[in-house]
């Protein structure tokens, strides 16, 4: 098999093309950013870094970002792990529906969540006003601004990582070990520390990296809620002010913070021994908890479910109200279809939605085109060259969204050999390219799982019956791995259709995406249109989710 692989000229060519694309669009652009940060007027200087670190305001912004990242990890870690433990040990009936509900925040683009939260908890939000009237207060009982409010929104969207990863890890818990520890006299606290935590530790560490990175680089929350300056918002500001060197420095600082934490977590993970998944594990038996404890946990879960459903309900409800009614009435009740009619009647208003659909589709298609053959080669013919290609394809996972966008601006604002000497910034394709870059790591790993689970004998059977490699690939491998591959693609489609961070830095007149339109309509007091956009995107996402469920139910269960 391996000698055959060496003779086969297709694989090296494929690897070379993939590597070249990754280098051209991911790695080199990062060096352009470094150059932009350190070369002023053609000579090397650390002046811009000096400017950054000499200004306490800049440093404070970096500290704020790190604190937001840590806060995100802490809140999401506690909430997500607790929910996973509840679902594993205590949940009985309706477990499946609960599980899907708990996962649902992942399915709504962050920018829409933030807007829904503002409509609910903002100064004139539905919840705020209801509470104010209920308590008979002269003004809003709280101010939905600053660190707390931003953390609240981010925690709401990001706990899902902890929840899902820990929940899946707990499936490999050997329940007999829990009973063994109990029979040896261990309390539940000790059982968690000595038996459960070692099993979920890899999942906890991975989720820590994921949520820290998304907390540090989060943009929609800090940008729309305000009251707390972070690097992502300052990067956009620097770019708008045409201070691209400063934007580059800020993006590099953000990258440094997230890489530092990633390395720290990795180091901790390697220092301590992790537990391998056990195939002979005994299944978890649902516990009979103390009634008081059960009630308490049920209340926490019920509140969580309410928190998840409320924003969606609010945004759907308000999208059927006239903008005047939303702005003026305490509880809007002037029903209208006008918002939706405007969107579908005016091509100019509909265009952003069509743009996003097109760009997300393009990005997923391009991403799959690159990652499916690569994943196949990586799974079936592991090699050193393959490892290098894999590293390059996974690279974007380590880059915050703002940095990917700044890299592209630095690399493609002028002619670039990788773009056949056409400036890409300002053109339609720059956003699909950015989306593709961001989707590569997730698509690759999801394809590797899909292809890895295909039994090799199926392929060998096809070959033994006389089918060539191409025929085998098209008629045996593709049909059998397609559900998993497409499900991963659909998930990325959902992620990209409402993408906001990179979009804010890269969009132009030709490719204005829906996320930008949602925000600008909100800011231009076209609230009704903005919310109707939001509902339409949610509808698209849920339709896509239904597709995933048909294709690959196991992904979530």
């Amino acid at each position: 098999m391996s000698t055959q692989a060496r003779k086969n000229p297709v694989l090296p060519i494929w690897y070379a093309v993939t590597a070249l694309l990754c280098l051209g669009y991911v790695a080199f652009p990062f060096f352009y950013t470094l150059r932009s940060a350190t070369f002023v007027d053609g000579s090397f200087t650390l002046d811009v870094f000096g400017e950054f670190f000499a200004n306490p305001n800049h440093v404070q912004v970096a500290v704020n970002s790190a604190v937001l990242g840590l806060g995100t990890v802490l809140v999401c870690g506690i909430l997500g792990t607790m929910l996973a433990l509840y679902m594993t040990f205590l949940a009985g009936k309706r477990k499946m529906i609960l599980h899907i509900l708990l996962l649902s925040p992942m399915m709504i683009p962050g920018v829409i969540t933030v807007i829904a939260f503002i409509q609910l908890y903002g100064e004139s939000g539905l919840f705020t006003k209801a509470l104010q009237m209920l308590l008979n207060l002269p003004s809003a009982p709280y101010s939905f601004k600053g660190f707390g409010a931003i953390l609240f929104v981010i925690a709401y969207t990001q706990y899902v990582y902890f929840y899902l990863n820990v929940y899946v890890a707990l499936k490999y818990l050997d329940y007999a070990q829990v009973e063994a520890a109990r029979s040896l006299g261990a309390s539940w606290g000790r059982v968690f520390k000595d038996v459960i935590f070692p099993v979920i530790k890899p999942a906890v560490l991975l989720s820590t990296i994921l949520t820290f990175t998304s907390g540090v680089s989060s943009f929609s929350g800090p940008n729309l809620i305000g009251g707390y300056k972070v690097l992502s918002t300052q990067i956009v500001l620097s770019k708008v002010n045409n201070h691209l060197e400063m934007a580059s420095v800020q993006a590099v600082v953000m990258f440094a913070i997230s890489i530092a934490v990633m390395l720290l977590v990795r180091w901790y993970g390697r220092r301590t021994r992790s537990v391998q998944a056990d195939r002979t594990a005994t299944k978890v038996v649902p516990l009979r908890a103390h009634p008081a404890l059960l009630l308490a946990t049920r209340i926490v879960v019920a509140v969580q479910i309410l928190l998840i459903l409320l924003p969606i309900a609010a945004i759907v409800y308000l999208s059927f109200m006239t903008t005047g009614s939303i702005m003026q009435e305490i509880f809007p009740h002037s029903f209208t279809l006008e918002n939706y009619q405007t969107i579908f009647a005016k091509p100019r208003v509909l265009q952003p939605l069509l743009n996003s659909l097109e760009m997300a589709t393009l990005a997923v298609a391009a991403g799959l085109l690159i990652t499916v053959p690569s994943a196949y080669a990586l799974v079936r013919r592991p090699s050193k060259a393959g490892a290098v290609v894999r590293f390059l394809l996974m690279l974007p996972a380590a880059l915050p969204a703002s940095l990917i966008a700044i890299n592209l601006i630095n690399a493609f604002a002028t002619e670039n050999v990788f773009a056949f000497n056409v400036p890409l910034i300002g053109s339609f394709v720059i956003l699909p390219i950015a989306y593709t870059i961001m989707a590569l790591p997730m698509l690759l790993s999801s394809n590797e799982v899909a292809i890895g689970s295909l039994h090799r004998s199926l392929e060998e059977a096809s070959k033994s019956l006389g089918a060539g490699p191409l025929r085998t690939f098209l008629h045996v491998i593709v049909p059998n791995t397609m559900p998993g591959i497409l499900a991963g693609g659909v998930l990325m489609f959902i992620r990209m259709i409402g993408e906001y961070t990179m979009s804010a830095l890269l969009y132009g007149i030709h490719n204005r995406p829906i996320s930008i339109s949602i925000v600008t309509n909100m800011q231009e007091y076209e609230t009704g249109i903005s919310l109707a956009y939001g509902v339409l995107v949610i509808l698209v996402c849920y339709a896509a989710l239904a597709v995933i469920f048909r294709l690959d139910k196991n992904r979530f269960v």
Partner: protein, 319 residues
Amino acid sequence: MSDVVLQDITHRYDSEDVLKHVSLTIPHGAFFTLLGPSGCGKTTLLRVLAGFIVPSAGRVSIGGKDITDLPCEKRNMGVVFQNYALFPNMTVRDNIAYGLKVRGLRRNEREARTKRYLALAGLEDYAGRHVQELSGGQQQRVAVARALAIEPDMLLLDEPMSNLDVGLRARMREEIRAIQRQTGVTTLFITHDQQEALSISDLVAVMNEGEVLQVGTPEEVYNHPGNAFVANFVGTANAIDGLQLRPEQLALTQAGRGGTTVRIEQVSFTGPSYEYLVVDERNGSRYTVLEKNLGQGCTWSVGDVCDLVQDAQGRTDTP
């Protein structure tokens, strides 16, 4: 004497009684085996004793002290799980010391006791190893040592041999028995293997469908089975004139000597003996008969007609 007494235990799970009015007394220091097919409720009974489940009805007591509602971590029961449930993030030594650490034993006492049980299980050379690096037999020794180190009131073994290959199984059986004799700990052993149950136990309780059918010494249960189920589960049985007779209690003689006339349907060689499957062609009843292997081949071959008689000597007459 701290006998373990199970009194009228019933356990309902998913509206099905998995244990039905089980009453048992396990004498102090005994090696007591629960024998039965899978799904008979024997593991549920062990879990009731361990405190993992509280029975729907009935009481459990040790030495007259009621422990029915005592949570498992307060019970002092040593449990050896079917998959051993060793903590994979700990070494052999740490696994054995775990229960002592939880109990807050002082360091030097803890170390001394851990050492003692490492020695008892013959694991001194493996103390620093991680449990994944051990063979199946070694893992089982760790599991037994860990359960015994807390010096439990009772040792509970849940089909501990089921993951071992045949040769190792017999050896581990002897080892467990030896350790039990040495420590004198009251032991409940669970198995579905009748040979294992007969060879290792002081007392055997045969269970089926949530009920205890018979309790007795291995000899009593084998030689005088209380009913057809026990007779068939504990060895092979032939029902003749209302009696349950073992294959070695029957013999074949030349036709016309006054026994039941049967035809040889099948002969199989098992090493120490030949096993005949014979059929009474008048009513279709089938019987199993053993003939000792004397090194001269079997007496009967397929198709022969002969008589089936009771034979206390366990020999068949030559034709």
